[in-house]
Symmetry: C2
Subunit: 362 residues, 2 copies
C-alpha cells in the first residue's frame, strides 16, 4: 500500500512528535509487565504536570477525548441532578447531550459562537447546580474561555472542564483554577496520535461521585485500581491497557516536559501569533473574538466568492496540507487552521501561509 505524508494543520489530529512514533513502534509490552507498570506510573505523574495538578487520580482513559467527556458526566450525574453547561460551540453542545443522556436536568447558557464563555452569566444560571461545565478551548470556534474565573464563582458545584484542545498548548492550571474534573485528548497539542483521554479528578469530586455508574468501562472507582501505583490505589485488573498508545503518550509527554511546559506554551503562542498576523496580511478576516483567540487553533472566514471545499481539496492534493472546515452553521464559511504539538513552529507557519497565498491567488 502506498503511504501518504500529510501536514496536519487541521483541528486535530496533528502530526506527532517523533518520540511518540518511536513509542508506538517500540516492542509491545504486556499490561501487567513490571516494565509497563513503571511506564504507566510515569505517564500518570507526567500527566499531573501537564494538567498542573496534584490529583492522584490523573490517568489516561483507554478511549478518545469524547469518552473523557462521557466519563466526566457518567461519574458525577444521577437522575435529576442539575448540570449547568456553558455553550459557545459544538463541544459545549455535546456536553449538554452527554449530560442529558446520563439523566441530568441540563441548564444551557447560550453564547454566540466565536465568543468566550461569560463566567458571571454561567454562575448565575442556577442557584445550586451539582455540576458546572465549560470548554476551555472550543475546537469548533478557536476561542479560549476564562476557566479561572469560573472556578472562583463555582461555589459548591463541581467544575467540569473540556481541555481537549488546550492541554499542552496554552496555560492550563487545574488546581489553581479550581477544576474538579478535566478531560483531554492526545492528538492535539500533546502531539501524540488519537486514542487516549488524559483525565483528572479532584479528591473533592471523587468523594461526591456516583457510587456505581452505569458505565463499567469508565467507572472511576474501578479505574483507580487499573492504574494502580500513581493513584495510591491497590493495582487490580480492570481491562487490558492499550499499551502501545500509553507508550506513545509517555514518550510525547517526556518530550514536552524536557522542553519545559512554559517554553511549549510560548512556542504555541508565537506560532499562532505569526499565523494570525500572516492571515490578516493576506486580507483574511479572523473569526474568533479578538483577545480570546487560541494560538493553537485559528479560525478564519472564507472570503466571499471562494469555494471553501475546493480550497481545502487543492491544499490536500497539491501540498499534502490538511486544514479544517468550519462546523455546524459555519461549515462552509470558516476554515480552522491548527498549529499543534510539533507543528507549532516557524516552518509550519511559513508553509501554510505560502500555500494559502498560492491557492487563493493573493
Amino acid at each position: 500500500m502506498t503511504l501518504t505524508t500529510r501536514r496536519l494543520f487541521g483541528p486535530g489530529p496533528t502530526n506527532v512528535y517523533p518520540e511518540a512514533t518511536a513509542g508506538l513502534a517500540a516492542p509491545l509490552l504486556g499490561h501487567l509487565d513490571p516494565a509497563f507498570i513503571r511506564l504507566m506510573d510515569e505517564t500518570c505523574v507526567m500527566l499531573r504536570e501537564v494538567w498542573q495538578t496534584q490529583n492522584p487520580r490523573t490517568l489516561p482513559l483507554s478511549a478518545t477525548g469524547s469518552a473523557g467527556m462521557e466519563a466526566a458526566f457518567v461519574n458525577t450525574v444521577e437522575e435529576g441532578d442539575v448540570v449547568v453547561v456553558a455553550v459557545n460551540g459544538l463541544f459545549g453542545e455535546r456536553m449538554c447531550e452527554v449530560a442529558r443522556r446520563n439523566g441530568a436536568e441540563v441548564v444551557r447558557v447560550e453564547h454566540e459562537w466565536g465568543e468566550p464563555v461569560d463566567p458571571e452569566r454561567v454562575a448565575a444560571a442556577h442557584p445550586s447546580p451539582k455540576v458546572i461545565a465549560a470548554v476551555h478551548a472550543e475546537t469548533s470556534t478557536g476561542v479560549r474561555s476564562d476557566i479561572a474565573a469560573l472556578g472562583e464563582l463555582k461555589g459548591e458545584a463541581l467544575l467540569v472542564v473540556d481541555a481537549v484542545t488546550s492541554i499542552g498548548g496554552i496555560e492550563l492550571r487545574a488546581d489553581e483554577w479550581g477544576v474538579d474534573i478535566g478531560y483531554a485528548g492526545t492528538q492535539k497539542c500533546l502531539g501524540v496520535p488519537p486514542g487516549l483521554a488524559p483525565f483528572t479528578i479532584s479528591e473533592r469530586a471523587f468523594a461526591r461521585r456516583v457510587e456505581t455508574p452505569r458505565s463499567w468501562y469508565l467507572d472511576l472507582g474501578l479505574l483507580g485500581g487499573y492504574v494502580g501505583g500513581a493513584t495510591g490505589a491497590q493495582r487490580t485488573y480492570h481491562h487490558t491497557a492499550p499499551t502501545a498508545m500509553v507508550a506513545s503518550l509517555h514518550a510525547g509527554l517526556r518530550r514536552i516536559l524536557d522542553e519545559g511546559l512554559p517554553a511549549v506554551w510560548e512556542r504555541h503562542a508565537r506560532a499562532g501569533r505569526r499565523l494570525q498576523e500572516g492571515l490578516q496580511e493576506l486580507g483574511l478576516e479572523l473569526f474568533a473574538a479578538e483577545g480570546y483567540r487560541l494560538p493553537e487553533l485559528t479560525t478564519v472566514r472564507v472570503p466571499d466568492g471562494v469555494d471553501s471545499t475546493a480550497v481545502r481539496a487543492e491544499l490536500l492534493e497539491r501540498y499534502d496540507i490538511e486544514i479544517g472546515a468550519g462546523v455546524g452553521p459555519y461549515a462552509g464559511s470558516v476554515w480552522r487552521i491548527g498549529l499543534m504539538g510539533p507543528n507549532a513552529d516557524d516552518s509550519s507557519v511559513t508553509l501554510v501561509l505560502g500555500a494559502l497565498r498560492d491557492v487563493l491567488g493573493r
Copy 2:
C-alpha cells in the same frame, strides 16, 4: 529509556505482526482525510471477513474489548429487560455486571470454571429473554463453547457473543451461527496492539436496539455514520478516530487474509496441539476440559509445591517470556499460556516449552 523485547505468551496482548507495527508507525492521517476514509472502509470490509458476516454494521470501536462488551449491552438493554448470561469464567461474570448496570434483570446460568457452556441449560433458563449472552473463548479458563448450538436454540432472543480471544484464532462464523452482536479485541489472535474493539451487529439486532442509549460514545445509531461508507450510512462526524490504531488493524487484517483465514486457524490449532502435548510430556496437567481446549490459550495446573509467581518471574527475568497467572479462584494454581497471532508457530512452542522445562527442572 531502555526498551525491552518480551515474548508475550500470556493471555494477551500478544506480540504483533510486523505489518501491524508498520501500520502504527506510518505517517499519521487525519480522521477526515480521503486516504483514511478508504483505510477505514477497507478495515470494516476485512472485519466482516474475520467475523464471517455480511452485517454492514461491522466496525472497530474506539476503545478496548471491554468497551465492546459495554456497547453490546448499552445498545440492547432497557430497564427490566431479561438477559440470560452463561457464566463459565471471569468474562461471563463481567457480562452479568455490565448488563446489570444497564438495568437488566440478569439470569445467571452457572457452570464450573474449566467447563464449556451448556447450550440446552442456557436456552431453558428463561422463556423469553431479550438477550442471551455467552463467551465463545473464555480467556480466564481456556475453554471453547459451542456458539452454533446456542444460536439454534436462541428463539426470539438476541445472541450476544464475546469473541475477544477467538477472533482470528479459531473457527468463528457469526452469520451461520446466528450471532446478533459480537465484540472482540485486537490484541489476541489478530496480532495487533490493544486499543480497538472489533464489533458486529445484525440488522435484526440493530432494528431492536435502544433508541437513545445512555452512552453517547458507544451509541451504535451514531456510530454507523462515524464509519460511513462501509455501513451504508451517510458519513458524519462523531468522534476523532484513533487513526494510528486503525491503520495498524488494517495492516494486521491484511496480513491475516493474505495468509487465508482457514490457514490461520490451522496454524493456531497446530501450535496449541503441540504445546498441549508438550506440557503433558513434561508431566503437567491441563486445566480446561478435554475436547473444549482452546489452541490459542492453554491453561495448565501449577504442580504441587511449585510457587506459581516465582516461576513466572523467572521466565520474565531470565527469558523475557511472559505467561499469565490464573484468575479468581485459580490465581495461584493455574498458568495461562497464549500462542496467538504471530506467536502461533513452532518457534514459540519450542521456546516456551524449553524455558518451562529449565525453570521447573524437569
